[in-house]
Amino acid sequence: MEFKRKPVTDIGIDETLKRFDEDKIKRAIDWVLNREASARLKVFVETCMRCGMCTTSCHHYLSHDQDPTYAPAGKVKQTIWDILNKKGNVTKEDIKKYARIVFSECNLCRRCVQFCPFGIDIAYLLSVVRRICCLIGAVPQYIQDQALSHMQTTNMLWFRQDEWLDTVQWLEDELKAEIKDAKIPVGKKNAEVLYLAHGLEAKYMTGLLTNMAKIMNVAKIDWTVPDTDGWDYTNKAFYACDFETMGKIVKTHYEVAFRLNVKKIVMGECGHAFRTGIYEGVRYLGWKESPIPYIHGVHFFYELLKEGRIKIAKKIEEPVTIQDPCNIVRYRGMGKMLRYIVSQLCENIIEMTPKDDHNYCCSAGGGMIDAGPAWKSARIEGGKIKAEQIKDTGAKIVIAPCHTCHKGIEDLNEYYKMGVHVKFLTDIIADLMEIPEEMKP
């Protein structure tokens, strides 16, 4: 079976490869294989019996007419096995192929791990290859750009410090039109909750941040947002396996929390940031668990509803379905909390098949959407099975509590004409919750 793909140009990979000799590739491979990877890599590679149990677990395989080059173990074979077989003496063309596979044909969703009789962490094996690409510098241009921004600004979009502060302040002014004396406290010491936002919520998706602020105000949460760098919870460096930057970002988040003496960090609806905030980044820094609670939006809303801190005035009647973001469901078992929230907001829930921690990835995660326009068709094609799965439910609304799932499914919706609306919980809750009389302006 041949590796057949439409040509894609990405200067982050193609141009980078032109700029150095193959020695650098060997050095990067030797470094990663000998100094960074250890028992897991060795055992996983040696223990794989090539049984193919993982094959049909992968949405890319299912979406590509069962092309074996898209199967999980197939991708491992074409990347890390190939590197090991060639003892690291690989060509630039090889790297180009590896980069394409690991950045645009695997979302690191780990569904395949659930299907492997040995529990081989296939996503980890492909991450090792991403790390090699990172050290060479062969990373999709859009991911690299965001990682470069993170390195200095800790936010994903080269935002200057005043742009964040200014944005928050005018959002607060706007919110006052809806909620009397609404506040978005900035850098408030000793608050209970430190809220971190998605980089895009400070620029293109400010409505989402306003809605979160509205919920915070109505629920009477003692909260604050950072007055310094560290307000953006995204961590795109993670996609490139740029651990140095990833670690620095997570360190910044926790240090802001310590400095402000908050009880916990709450973030919005995002998968990868949660993953880096409680696993990848935290572990890189030497913490076994997050040093203070790092709460995902779903968990936060679940508690607000359970404790009755917000009340829902009316429910959505149209049929809705639930997208389970891998990073919070397969990676943190939040499926039940998510379903409780949705049951409080919606009358008619139609589940996808498969669902919960066995649900398919949206095909945009793990950096695929961040790899930019060049790779858009890769994720759209890889998401065919997701589109069919959603269509089969007949739902009109897809609730996707993750920025990446949200945008990924919106793009699928457009391409596959699914006729659905994709919604964040934040927006639905802000829309449906009761606003007490005394809070109305």
């Binding site: 750009d145 005043d162 040093p291």
Partner: protein, 414 residues
């Protein structure tokens, strides 16, 4: 401190309930270092202003941000009026205005005040009313020297188009001191600090994906590391910084590895008697404090915050978190009790007592040498020892009243 009132046992300074009735909103409550003043940003008919012990400023503003009380008791704040930002200090307003102002800072003796500014689309720093001569495409963070005469910021010196990753990879960031940029630029520069004599500045620099070093006044060390955290000056010439090598994290002084290796090492601090303490993870998930490279035997599961020293440097204490509870450890010995939250502990001048503000289930109280104070408060500000160490002074809110209190040590627990 010695001229503060250490004799009046209890002073009711102001009734905040009255403030709440009088003003549309009361936010960002602060107290002065001697606890004699309580300050809040309040909303009146005319706009935002400060209320200090019940008295308001004459000036009003559209917005007041980042309020502070300096060590000498001045109220300072960045203020928005007529769509322009400026500095307000003790009811006087600086003449010069900016398109934005943030990161308000004062130096050690509070005589100098500086903040980041935006003018048009250019960025820089304003120190004591004087704006840098050169402004930049971006200026992030503000570092102010101890003598208050110098300011620094991380500035962006190249402005390639978005997504031009190759230009960005060459490095577009450097440090500007008093508006003068260093020649070299980096893909990332951070952790800048001035030397005690305010003449030098050190910062951590990222040269490439895995090459990190320290640069002092723009001159980089020859030694390259896999990663580095923020440096500190040990004196006017020597710099210590946590560095990562293949063997793990360690402390490098002037580029030379000087400590054993740890899973993590950060927040190195210099003691008054010239030793270095740092927060370390001896193993994955095992945190403690190391003194001159020797870690405490006792480790903590969740985290350890930067260490403090007693005046003589003999006692070291740090906030620690074991499981879900926060506490304090002194010279490796943790307090038995844990709390939902604990604030930076204070050591008495002789180092024999340690006091901290703590919270459990929404009530605040004092903790002295691990023993919980009897009184609880609706709000509490971090207590201070008297110069003789026999009394403590703090501010608190009870039933809406802000009270300044002086207690003898024995009274804390009674």
């Amino acid at each position: 401190m010695s001229n503060w009132d250490w004799d009046t046992r209890e002073k009711v300074i102001s009734n905040l309930n009255e403030w709440k009735e009088k003003f549309n909103s009361v936010d960002e409550i602060l107290v002065s270092p001697d606890f004699e003043k309580i300050v809040a940003i309040v909303t009146t008919q005319e706009g935002k202003t400060f209320c200090i012990n019940g008295e308001t400023w004459k000036n009003t503003f559209e917005r007041l941000c980042f309020p502070q009380i300096t060590s000498v008791g001045s109220v300072i704040c960045l203020a928005l009026r007529n769509y322009e930002w400026t500095l307000a200090k003790d009811d006087t307003v600086m003449e010069e205005t900016f398109d934005y102002a943030w990161n308000l800072k004062t130096n050690k003796d509070s005589k100098s005040i500086a903040f980041n500014i935006k003018k048009g689309d250019s960025y820089g720093v304003c120190l004591d009313g004087k704006t840098w001569d050169t402004l930049f495409f971006d200026a992030r963070d503000l570092i102010l020297s101890d003598d208050g005469k110098h300011t620094a910021s991380y500035v962006r010196v190249e402005n390639p188009p978005l997504l031009d990753i190759f230009s960005f990879k060459k490095g577009v960031w450097t440090v500007a001191v008093d508006g003068n940029r260093w020649d070299k630029s980096f893909i990332s520069i951070y952790g800048a600090c001035f030397s005690p004599d305010s003449k030098k500045i050190a910062a951590s620099a990222r040269l490439s994906q895995q090459e990190f070093t320290v640069t002092i006044d723009g001159k980089t060390w020859d030694e390259i590391f896999l990663n580095v955290w923020e440096p500190i000056f040990l004196d006017n010439d020597n710099v210590a910084v946590p560095v990562k090598t293949e063997k793990g994290w360690t402390l490098a002084i002037n580029g030379k590895v000087s400590w054993p290796y740890f899973t993590q090492l950060w927040h190195q601090r210099l003691s008054p008697d010239g030793r270095i303490a740092a927060v370390v993870a001896t193993e994955f998930g095992k945190w403690t404090v190391a003194l001159d490279g020797n870690p405490w035997k006792k480790t903590f599961s969740h985290c350890v915050l930067p260490p403090f020293f007693s005046v003589d440097g003999k006692k070291i204490c740090a906030v620690i978190k074991e499981g879900n509870t926060w506490s304090v450890a002194i010279n490796g010995k943790p307090w038995e009790r844990g709390f939902d939250r604990i604030w930076s502990p204070q050591l008495s001048p002789d180092g024999n007592y340690c006091i901290a503000k703590a919270e459990k289930e929404g009530t605040y109280f004092l903790v002295l040498n691990g023993q919980i104070g009897k009184e609880t408060f609706d709000m509490l500000w971090e207590p201070k020892f008297s110069p003789e160490g026999d009394k403590i002074l703090f501010g608190c809110i009870k039933n809406g009243k802000y009270i300044r209190k002086v207690l003898s040590l024995s009274e804390v627990l009674k």
